[in-house]
């Protein structure tokens, strides 16, 4: 039954994954000098992973993806009343949501990895750009990937936490984004890591609390 749940979650996020895939293709293409949109010039990178579109692209495309995925897995089910169908299956409620979260986190992470991997693979192939390249140069983008997982968790909590007003509903999302920004801008791992772990713990605890106690 876990398999059935995993397949269901994957199938339901397929549309969003496809969109994110297009976004990733555009960013990577842009960074390596292939313009996917005919009316735009691609800027070939001189110093890969140092500056340029990839950070903004990652933030915009995959940040939005994490946000939408979090809502799709929760608010979308509530909107279609399918929670009544899903949560009456003979499994513990916490398991259903654990599967959702696991699949979600994995997808967000893998899409980030795809972006970094493709761009890094190009950068690592000789003769593409004039500057030297080390895989260690990708570390900030990996850190950003982790931060985007927090954005996803924030959106997920927004989806499961009941609130009367749209604005208060988004509080967890805003919290997630604030945490993600502070992780991204912390230059030292010993500051970024605790922020990440703490915010993830808080969000997960809140998610499992609301999931058990809210009215569907």
């Amino acid at each position: 039954m876990i398999k059935a749940l995993v397949i269901k979650e994957l199938r339901e996020s397929l549309g969003l994954i496809a969109l994110a895939g297009l976004g990733i293709a555009y960013i990577v293409g842009h960074c390596i000098g292939i313009a996917l949109l005919p009316w735009k010039y691609a800027e070939a990178t001189y110093y890969p992973f140092s500056y340029g579109l990839h950070i903004e692209g990652q933030v915009v495309i995959l940040g939005c993806f994490g946000f939408l995925l979090g809502l799709k897995q929760t608010a979308w089910e509530a909107h279609h009343s399918t929670f009544y169908f899903l949560l009456h299956r003979p499994v513990e409620r916490s398991r259903v949501f654990a599967v959702k979260l696991l699949v979600g986190v994995l997808i967000v992470f893998l899409l980030n990895a795809l972006l970094i991997g493709l761009y890094g693979w190009w950068a690592a192939s000789p003769g593409k750009h004039p500057s030297p390249f080390e895989w260690s140069m990708t570390i900030p983008t990996w850190k950003l990937s982790g931060a985007l997982v927090i954005v996803y968790l924030g959106a997920f909590l927004s989806g499961v936490r009941p609130a009367k007003w749209f604005g208060t509903r988004l509080v967890p999302t805003v919290f997630g984004i604030v945490c993600a920004v502070s992780i991204h801008f912390s230059p030292w791992w010993w500051r970024a890591l605790p922020i990440g772990l703490a915010s993830a713990t808080v969000l997960l605890l809140a998610i499992f609390y609301y999931v058990q106690t809210r009215d569907y």
């Binding site: 009343s81 009544y84 169908f85 009456h88 003979p90 009215d215 569907y216």
Partner: protein, 318 residues
């Protein structure tokens, strides 16, 4: 009674804001009963059903299904309970075949033959997307999924809502087939009183979150009576007696709706000295309308199975 309670709630209460949607509900449904759960829109039927299944948390009180508190319902117990929520929610992107496969994955017991039978009977192709199904087909798929694990208890929230007459009849036929399986208990809410009369042994009526009626179906309709009194002069005003639900005066006529028509009420009515008293029987729908529309909180009507004689408890009258 040696029968076991399959559903039992004790002072179940729920507020939305400061509005009390369900008010100290004591509901008992015994094994093998087909219980029609009635009430006007917003009377708290859906909320009650959601509380029974743990989808809504009660503010106070308790609910038990199959002898287990709902808040601690184990998956093994949930497996023995089928629930169809209002509107037959299913994953629209799935095909009929996919939703069957998905649902089946959760159950240790699954009657494949029965599912095939229902799907074939309604000519549902496995490849059809649920999104493309009509309301009636959707209801049949959702019923097939509900009965496939051979549940002991079925809880259906207005399962015929939005179905046309023919499709509704199909659905009821399927439901009757389910009832034929001995020992199965069904609780269903409905707006269509004719359906309830066909299918339910017993009814409960919620009025503003309070269970006002809980008795065998025939007992209820036999208890609600309309009296038409003719007077030589103008009809008297301000008639009062226990169990009076409603009254209208039109010239020399006085119409009364009474609950639990008995000797005491007859004496009270006769003391008005009308020229003629006509007692009109009501069908279930008329009885329900009269009972729930009353200006005052109608006299509650409770009776246990088997005691067909009037056993109206006068608690909380007026």
């Amino acid at each position: 009674m040696t029968m076991t309670d399959v559903i039992r709630t004790q002072r179940l209460t729920k507020h939305y804001g400061c509005h009390r949607v369900v008010d100290s509900l004591n509901l008992r449904v015994q094994q093998g009963q087909v219980y029609g759960f009635l009430g006007r829109n917003g009377a708290g039927k859906s909320t009650t059903i959601k509380m029974l299944l743990g989808m809504v948390q009660p503010d106070s009180g308790e609910a038990e299904l199959l002898g287990e508190p709902v808040s601690k319902l184990r998956p093994e117990t949930r497996e023995r309970i089928a629930y169809i929520a209002e509107g037959h929610p299913l994953y629209n992107w799935m095909t009929v075949g996919e939703v069957v496969r998905f649902t089946r994955a959760f159950y240790s017991q699954w009657n494949t033959e029965l599912v095939e039978q229902i799907l074939d009977h309604f000519e549902l192709s496995r490849k059809q997307k649920l999104r493309r199904l009509s309301n009636g087909q959707r209801a049949q798929v959702s019923l097939a999924l509900a009965v496939a694990p051979e549940p002991e208890l079925l809880i259906l929230d207005d399962p015929t809502l939005g179905l046309d007459t023919v499709v509704r009849r199909d659905f009821l036929e399927s439901l009757i087939q389910i009832i034929h399986r001995k020992g199965r208990t069904i609780l269903f809410s409905s707006h269509i009183l004719g359906d309830v009369e066909r299918v339910a042994d017993r009814i409960g009526i919620l009025v503003d979150g309070v269970l006002r009626v809980d008795c065998p179906t025939d007992h209820f309709r036999a208890s609600v009576k309309k009296l038409v009194l003719d007077f030589p002069g103008p009809a008297p005003e301000g008639f009062e007696c226990p169990g009076l639900v409603n009254q209208w005066r039109t010239g020399s006529q006085l119409e009364l709706v009474l609950v639990g028509y008995d000797d005491a009420q007859r004496t009270a009515v006769e003391s008005l000295q009308p020229r003629n008293i006509e007692v009109v029987e009501l069908n279930l729908e008329e009885a329900f309308i009269q009972y729930t529309r009353g200006r005052r909180r109608s006299l509650p009507l409770f009776a246990t199975e088997g005691s067909d004689d009037q056993s109206t408890r006068d608690q909380g009258a007026a």
